[in-house]
């Protein structure tokens, strides 16, 4: 607004005409953030960082990759052996996908635990679930590109899900394949879409951030910040905390890339795709396993597909299933127990998804799947009614400083400046 806001005259001149510096300041320095965020609040910016890493390594990989059934596998092997640092870039991209999901799953569980999806942040949550869906589509199509056995048969199985739809199923699968089976046209379009989707995600992430900044971050207490005594500026306090978390994350990520690059992959994907033979045991990447378990738990083709998509769809309506006005699990003793049971259920489903679809595993998958839906459709609505939450603290400052709200905050404010 005012041209005198910035001391640098060039910055000031530009900002008067194109307020990018004001916008940056609004989004970083001015942005008041609850002072009690814990390390679980690092995962949003970590996810953003991982998205950038995936886009940068993806673009560089695309410079040496050939999306053709006869050359795709060979071009990936060429990247691993001949292209300068190709092995590093590919391992970063490959493990980056897994780490992206790890980060996003923790980010989502953070939201579930602290009730970040509740009013007024319902849209923020819904946009987040949309990003999750887009990520799944992107990851799936990316996994097809190396054109190994798992790529090919994963693509076959997932595209065949759509054939379960009545009447239009076959037409849709034919459309997706561009032929009568997964083949060169499928690989070509998957490459085009895999390149496009991350940029769509960037766009939706921006919406996510705009929606976040409307009411600011939720916090571990789940109560609203009442004023300046409850908040600190995002920059430098949380930028430095995010950077510290980022360096810890990068240590773990680098360890995976350099020492266990294939730990989260399948050896079968180093066998070139063979449309005439399915591998004996085919499983999706680990991050799809819980949903895969739900798919297989239902003994009906269409039913399984509906259950699998329903497992994600239920997240969209979550803000209206959990009606409890208290956000944080800290003050919801019964919800807290069920939250951890739910986490255990997701891990169990993930484990079952990797097991063969027979005997005890199927039974357990059914129990796990039923619990998954019961958690959202029965337990959460019921808890909203029967649970008595513990008393909430007066303000964020009171809880942080143990003193009496505003007074303590006012006393603490000058200290922070020193």
């Amino acid at each position: 607004m005012s041209a005198t806001k910035f001391s640098n005259p060039v910055v000031s001149w530009i900002d008067h005409r194109l307020p990018i510096f004001s916008a940056a300041e609004h989004f970083a320095s001015d942005y008041p953030t609850p002072k009690n965020l814990n390390y679980f609040w690092n995962f949003g910016s970590l996810a953003g960082f991982t998205l950038v890493v995936m886009i940068v390594t993806g673009i560089t990989l695309a410079m040496s990759y050939t999306p053709h059934v006869d050359y795709a596998f060979g071009s990936v092997e060429r990247i691993m052996r001949d292209v300068n640092h190709g092995w590093l870039i590919r391992y970063i991209h490959m493990n980056g996908a897994s780490f992206f999901f790890i980060v996003v799953y923790i980010h989502m569980l953070r939201g579930l635990y602290y009730g970040s999806y509740k009013a007024p942040r319902e849209l923020l949550w819904i946009i987040g679930v949309t990003i999750f869906l887009l990520m799944m589509a992107t990851a799936f199509m990316g996994y097809v590109l190396p054109w190994g056995q798992m790529s090919f048969w994963g693509a076959t199985v997932i595209t065949n899900l759509f054939s379960a739809l009545p009447y239009v199923g076959d037409a849709i699968t034919t459309l997706l394949w561009g032929g009568f089976a997964v083949d060169n046209p499928t690989l070509n379009r998957f490459f085009a879409l895999h390149y496009l989707m991350p940029f769509v995600i960037v766009g939706v992430v921006m919406l996510h951030i705009v929606a976040l900044h409307r009411f600011g971050s939720n916090n571990p207490l789940g109560i609203d910040a009442r004023g300046p005594q409850d908040t600190i500026p995002f920059h430098p306090y949380y930028t430095i905390k995010d950077l510290f978390g980022l360096s810890v994350f990068l240590c773990i990520f680098a360890a995976a890339v350099f020492f266990f690059p294939n730990f989260m992959g399948h050896p079968d994907n180093y066998i070139p795709a063979n449309p005439l033979q399915t591998p004996a045991h085919i499983v999706p990447e680990w991050y799809f396993l819980p949903f895969y378990a739900i798919l297989r738990a239902v003994p009906d083709k269409l039913g399984g597909v509906i259950a699998m998509f329903g497992a994600i769809a239920v997240l969209f309506v979550l803000p209206w299933l959990d009606r409890s006005p208290v956000r944080s699990a800290k003050f919801r003793p019964i919800f807290k127990i069920f939250f951890w049971v739910f986490v255990a259920d997701c891990l169990l489903l993930g484990y079952l998804g990797a097991k063969p679809a027979e005997g005890i595993w199927v039974t357990l998958s059914r129990v796990g799947s039923i619990w998954y839906f019961a958690h959202f459709l029965i337990i959460l609505p019921l808890l909203s009614v029967i649970e008595t939450p513990r008393p909430l603290p007066q303000s964020l400052s009171q809880s942080v400083l143990g003193g009496s709200g505003a007074m303590a905050g006012a006393a603490a404010a000058p200290k922070e400046k020193a």
Partner: protein
Amino acid sequence: MATKSKEVQADASQPENKSRRDFIVVATYAMAGMGAATAAWPLINQMNPAADTLALANIEIDVSKIEVGQSITVKWRGKPVFIRHRTEAEIAEAEAVEAEALRHPETDTDRVENPEYLVVLGICTHLGCVPLGQKVGEVRGEYDGWFCPCHGSHYDSSGRIRKGPAPLNLEVPPYAFTSDNIIRIG
């Protein structure tokens, strides 16, 4: 280090003395900058020629089949190489030229291993077009060598620039006769 301490001093001269904190800030930025540069290098270097590209960097040609006065074009590292079996007249013409008077002074003997065979890259040193003059009946320019149709550069029978915008002679690639008739380029 020099820039770092300079910045620290500059800030320390401001009213508030906060040079220790500034040192930490500058050191942090410097570390982050080095980290970013280190991370960026593989992403840039992957665009350099890959190992398999470098492995294909030399070829062998049998020149015994080229008649006197005839030229052939071979592909080496993705670029055309002109090999001309020169006539006596062309050799004499190339050797007669006063090198000092040329735009890019080189004698003919500096440019050939064996005067009978001239080996040059078929890429105009102006803006990279392929000059004419290889095939029978093509324009060879005013100096009996090659003529670049893009911007009108004339090269002589030793591939030297004689007229037109090109700054340098046609480049002689690294090559050697491995036997009387075999040339190894690269």
